[in-house]
Symmetry: C2
Subunit: 307 residues, 2 copies
């Protein structure tokens, strides 16, 4: 499982930072979180196969977060995509996609299914879910919480104590099915323990620091709006963004494993100041940069996060 | 005067080539010819001041040639632009700009004036004109011919022979005004010679090779569609593009000074083959690459093109 930062700027691009976009590569799928202008090219530069994108999430309808959509949709068409594409976004996303599809002359051979996000909505995929939660940005805006679904732990010793032989019955119990063994009904509850821990990645989108993000940051890799440094708290408030320190507090209060600061204002040529200030509050703070790849499997192993 | 290639790919971007865009920097103005996705960032990377853009020309309404427009217009707004912007394009450009301005939440403090191109139309600026000419691309499509207007040569010896003293009268005659000297009317015709040679840059847009381009290639730096190599002539025909060899023939027949091949299909990782084939027909052929700057003043001097 890999997290790839495609663009990390705020509003206006710089030589170093393209418009917002994050690719979450999970098994053979790519989930795209925001799709700023230039995202298709950043995907190419990052060597992420854009044909594997199954779901695109647009956190809010500010241009810098979705203006890569028209080009990406057309390019997928040019490349012969036939597989359906899901696009999720705040209210207005249906009209937006309609407009986007009216730009230029082209035909798509694949279907696009557009779905409006709502607070608490969970999008279920194969082995994961993405929960949308409301954040504060002065326009309908969502954060996104990816959670790997690994199922509950199988308590082998309990199954053995019940005399059930290892094999197909274990598998069925593990899947949550009731089985009959030697005339006795065995409920999965009897042999299943706690939920297994999977990867969690939480993205704040553009927002003020809010509890809803902290509540979903536990054990997660948190990606948070960090448009300004600590000295610009007033600006962050009035523009409905966060400072690096505010982002770090959300990470600390929520119990995140690691924090990536993104949506960096073009004023910071060297974003080191943001990282330094954030680390005073939350030591595992890192400024994201374009094309940064985070290999979550390797990180888990290296940091011994859990088994 | 500088010519800056912002993007040189065809349809789909590559790691090396962004979507089409050409900046023509003349005096304190920048003319933008096509505006593919990512153009605003390419302008930043090329260190071309996008606040100086006065006129944007969209050659035709295929997405790869205009999907950078929404982001550019919004960024100009974020940066506080107040100066009017002219946008020119084929029929449909008005509706397109309207749609583009409906993407996202933002307000612009500057006016946008949209004008439809027509064959033979000349857009006059300060010291130059841009002529639009019809090309063949299966959709309404234009080529663009920039011509520096330097006025007519002042024949000093004739003025002297008429006894006119150097000074303000020379200036007025040079501007084409009639003057009275010692009771005699002097017509500018009497002291003005041929048109002075200025820079010419002709851009084919996406097209099959056509006479209209060759007719405007004389003495010019020609930028031509060169999507395919010579071996793919059939594909070039059916897709309404040109091969490198076809582009070179237009340059040769038109009497161009220099040819830049652009709109290079992503299939060519190394576009050297295109250059080699074109040079067999027209030796001054060069494959354009992203962020290539062509200093026309320096070139004129170096090649001794004219005085």
């Amino acid at each position: 499982m890999e997290l790839v930062f495609l663009g990390t700027t705020a509003a206006v691009p710089t030589a170093q930072r393209a418009h917002p976009g994050i690719a979450l590569c999970y098994r053979d799928e790519v989930l795209l979180w925001d799709c700023g202008e230039g995202t298709q090219r950043q995907l190419i530069l990052a060597k992420v196969n854009f044909m594997r994108i199954t779901r695109v999430f647009i956190t809010h309808l500010h241009g810098d977060h979705f203006l890569g959509l028209p080009g990406l949709l057309q390019t997928l068409g040019f490349q012969g995509r036939e597989r359906r594409l899901h696009i999720y976004g705040p209210p207005g996303i249906e009209e937006l996609v309609e407009r986007v599809l009216s730009l230029g002359e082209f035909e798509l051979e694949y279907e696009i299914e557009v779905e409006r996000l709502a607070p608490g909505m969970r999008v279920r995929g194969s082995g994961y879910e993405v929960e949308a939660f409301e954040v504060e940005h002065g326009t309908p805006a969502f954060g996104l919480a990816f959670r790997e679904l690994k199922g509950r732990r199988f308590l082998r010793e309990k199954a053995e104590a019940l005399g059930i032989p290892p094999g197909p019955l274990y598998k069925r119990l593990q899947r949550g099915e009731r089985v009959v063994f030697q005339g006795r009904v065995v409920e999965p509850e009897e042999v299943l323990g706690e939920e297994k821990r999977g990867f969690r990645v939480t993205y704040s989108g553009d927002t003020r620091p809010v509890d809803a993000t902290a509540e979903r940051a536990g054990d997660a890799v948190l990606i948070h709006d960090s448009t300004f440094d600590a000295g610009e708290a007033e600006k962050a408030r009035s523009r409905m963004h966060s400072t690096c320190t505010e982002a770090a507090r959300v990470a600390r209060e929520g119990g995140a494993k690691m924090l990536f600061l993104t949506h960096i204002s073009p004023r910071y040529r060297d974003a080191g100041v943001l990282e330094a200030q954030a680390r005073e509050v939350f030591p595992e703070s890192h400024v994201a940069r374009d094309l940064l790849r985070v290999d979550l499997l390797a990180l888990r192993k290296e940091r011994g996060w859990w088994k």
